[in-house]
């Protein structure tokens, strides 16, 4: 039974069709990568799934709930978390607060204004645990905006996974990192998504082939192929979409 299932999802912005009928099933526990050239609509697809955009037509089911027109917070409460391509943290708050905020809803605090966070030991321990996972425990009281880039990206991941969501979507998690930083990040991603479903958009093919069980190639709003890494690499249509027809013949 697929945990996430897209059926003929379309999205128009005015006259232009950005997503032209995407259907995709993601199995529980699967590590799925979405690749494609610039402007193919990868981020838009992420936004549709996570609730930032409403679909023009089609359905998205997450754990048998239709979520295509739900708000981001409703989708998140169902157990779907995501990160962003551009670092998207709470810059003026410290690292610990960033993670703790991400934990609040799943720990059942809702909009409470009668709990003092300092006294919520279980919550604080959980937050510390997440910080340890993303190796930022010694930066806990640092303003998030002052962290080094790779650390901010790690925090970005931390916020996404903190709530213990079953499905995690990562949008270019290693973009802008140096080689060694990227390697660390991949290791981190693997560790923190253990046993969970992962969908990620990434341009670094080494990482994609390293992490993903299956890959979907999105070109101009359509998925031209979904398969395991080896088959994708061998697929001429994929090469063409990426490099143009001449290179294929070479």
């Amino acid at each position: 039974m697929a945990i996430l299932s897209l059926k003929d999802v379309r999205k128009n912005f005015g006259e232009t069709e950005i997503i032209r009928g995407v259907s995709l099933d993601i199995e529980p526990g699967e590590k799925h990568a979405i690749i494609g050239p610039n402007g193919a609509g990868k981020s838009t697809l992420f936004h549709l799934i996570s609730g930032l955009f409403n679909v023009t037509s089609g359905t998205i089911e997450f754990k048998q709930n239709e979520i295509q027109n739900k708000t981001p917070y409703e989708v998140n409460r169902l157990g779907l978390a995501r990160s962003f391509q551009v670092t998207n943290i709470f810059a003026r708050m410290n690292v610990f607060e960033n993670v703790r905020c991400a934990l609040l809803w799943s720990c059942g605090y809702r909009y409470s204004f009668w709990h003092l966070l300092g006294k919520q030991h279980e919550l604080n321990e959980k937050a510390m645990h997440v910080l340890e996972q993303i190796r930022l425990q010694d930066k806990a009281l640092f303003p998030a905006g002052e962290l080094a880039y790779a650390q901010q990206r790690a925090l970005e991941l931390g916020i996404a996974i903190a709530s213990g969501a079953e499905l995690i979507m990562l949008d270019e998690p290693v973009a802008g990192m140096s080689h060694s930083e990227a390697e660390n990040a991949v290791e981190l991603i693997r560790k923190i998504t253990e046993g969970k479903t992962l969908i990620m958009v990434e341009h670094d093919m080494n990482i994609v082939f390293d992490v993903a069980d299956r890959i979907s190639v999105l070109v101009y709003g359509e998925i031209i192929a979904t398969d395991n890494p080896e088959n994708i690499r061998a697929n001429p249509r994929v090469q063409e979409a990426y490099l143009g027809e001449v290179a294929v013949s070479a």
Binding site: S50, G51, L52, T71, P72, Y73, N76, R77, A81, R82, F84, N88, I89, F90, A91, R92, M93, E97, N98, R100, C101, A102, L104, W105, S106, Y109, R110, Y111, S112, F113, W114, H115, L116, L117, G118, F142, E146, A148, I159, A162, S163
Partner: protein, 410 residues
């Protein structure tokens, strides 16, 4: 911070609040202290909105004023014996009414932050201020309404006729309000307000509706603004449309901004500075509003994080033990800057004054003599030059005091 340290800060705050009228005990001083008390609660409530929630409001006086009006009506009810309770609770009445108004208005205005919110707040502010002159039976027209705080049951024999007694009552309320506003920042809703301010989009992806979070901050802010309005009612025993209108809204923005947004103590500092300026400066010059305007614009340009921000800037330097190295550069720049400022003030005042003699800093200046002008202008120019020259050194000194021995974190 350890528990003890935290507690001692709060106890210190309470002690300062309670000891102040012993140090400054003239009738004027007490009334200034009362104003400060009101200003502190009001500015803190504004900071909940703008500093912590990221909502720029041009109509915050609405909640202050409505709370105040309700509080005065409550005083009238006590006086006319339609209600019987101690005036200790008056601020609570104001707060409740501020909260009700905030719930109503917040229900449609907290959709968005930013310009849309700011404009709605402006519109609502103008609407309510204008209605206050139309609905005379509740607002009393331009004369406002007045009550008397000495009725109702006595509190251990105190009837609160004197301002000093009201000050102690206010001080307790200020303390309670400050504590609760601080505690609010420590709750899930208070924290999420910060998160929504920083990044409303992301907040939605961790399960929170940005609108609901804003709404809660908005209501809390309205509640405390109403409490401030209640304190106003107790202190002045009357209230007019002035407390509802754009001037009051502007003043609270000024307080919070000059004090320093985003720092919890910022609004407190701002309320103290502005109250002092308002009540003392105007005694020395009728141009004080001009000086206030200049100071405000310069603050926005050069101290974007306000006075509290300026002080906090030195925290790092202090922690590094480099504060001493700054004293001399500060003096080298500060002294000519102070001279320049006073020379400019002298020029402005002399061109404005009609009297023959202008008493200034213990000097007697004669505005009709050309020599006075030449000397003053020369002093201004000289000190300006000296300031300009030394600013470079100051910023160098600042850089070196701030520089990290190891740039690991940068």
């Amino acid at each position: 911070m350890s528990m003890v340290k935290k507690l001692s800060v709060w106890i210190g705050y309470l002690v300062v609040l309670l000891i102040l009228p012993r140090l400054f005990d003239s009738i004027l001083a007490i009334s200034i202290l009362n104003q400060m008390a009101i200003g502190i609660v009001f500015a803190l409530s504004y900071n909940m909105l703008l500093g912590q929630g990221g909502m720029l409001s041009f109509g915050h006086a609405v909640y202050f004023g409505l709370g105040g009006f309700m509080a005065v009506h409550a005083l009238i009810m006590i006086e006319s014996e339609t209600a019987y309770f101690s005036i200790l609770l008056i601020p609570l009445i104001g707060g409740a009414f501020g909260l009700i108004a905030a719930i109503f208005i917040g229900s449609f205005s907290t959709h968005k932050a930013g310009t849309v919110f700011a404009m709605i707040s402006l519109g609502i502010g103008e609407l309510i201020a204008a209605s206050s002159l139309i609905f005379v039976s509740f607002f009393g027209g331009e004369a406002g309404i007045s009550g008397d705080r000495t009725f109702g049951p006595l509190f251990f024999g105190v009837d609160f006729a004197q301002d000093l007694e009201i000050y102690y009552l206010s001080a307790v309320w200020v303390f309670i309000a400050t504590v609760f506003m601080y505690l609010f920042t420590q709750t899930p809703s208070g924290r999420m307000a910060n998160a929504v301010r920083d990044n409303p989009e992301r907040a939605e992806f961790i399960g929170y509706s940005a609108r609901r979070v804003r709404f809660i901050s908005f209501c809390a802010s309205g509640l405390f603004a109403g409490i401030a309005g209640g304190l106003f009612a107790l202190n002045y025993e009357f209230i007019t449309d002035e407390s509802l209108n754009a001037i009051t809204s502007g003043r609270v923005l000024l307080m919070a901004y000059i004090g320093g947004l985003g720092y919890f103590i910022g609004p407190i500092v701002g309320a103290v500075i502005l109250t002092l300026m308002n009540s003392l400066l105007s005694n020395y010059s009728d141009l004080w509003l001009l000086y206030l305007g200049i100071m405000f614009v310069l603050t926005v340009m050069f101290l974007p994080r306000g006075f509290a921000g300026f002080i906090m800037m030195h925290q790092v330097v202090w922690l590094r033990g480099n504060l001493k190295s700054l004293i001399l550069p500060y003096l080298i720049t500060g002294i000519p800057a102070a001279i320049f400022t006073s020379a400019c003030i002298a020029l402005v005042e002399m061109s404005h004054l009609e009297e023959e003699v202008f008493h200034y800093l213990g000097l007697e200046l004669d505005p009709s003599a050309t020599l006075t002008w030449i000397i003053t202008i020369a002093i201004a120019a000289g000190s300006f030059y000296a300031t300009r020259r030394s600013v470079g050194q100051l910023s160098d000194a600042w850089e070196s005091a701030n520089s990290f021995p190891d740039s690991e974190d940068r």
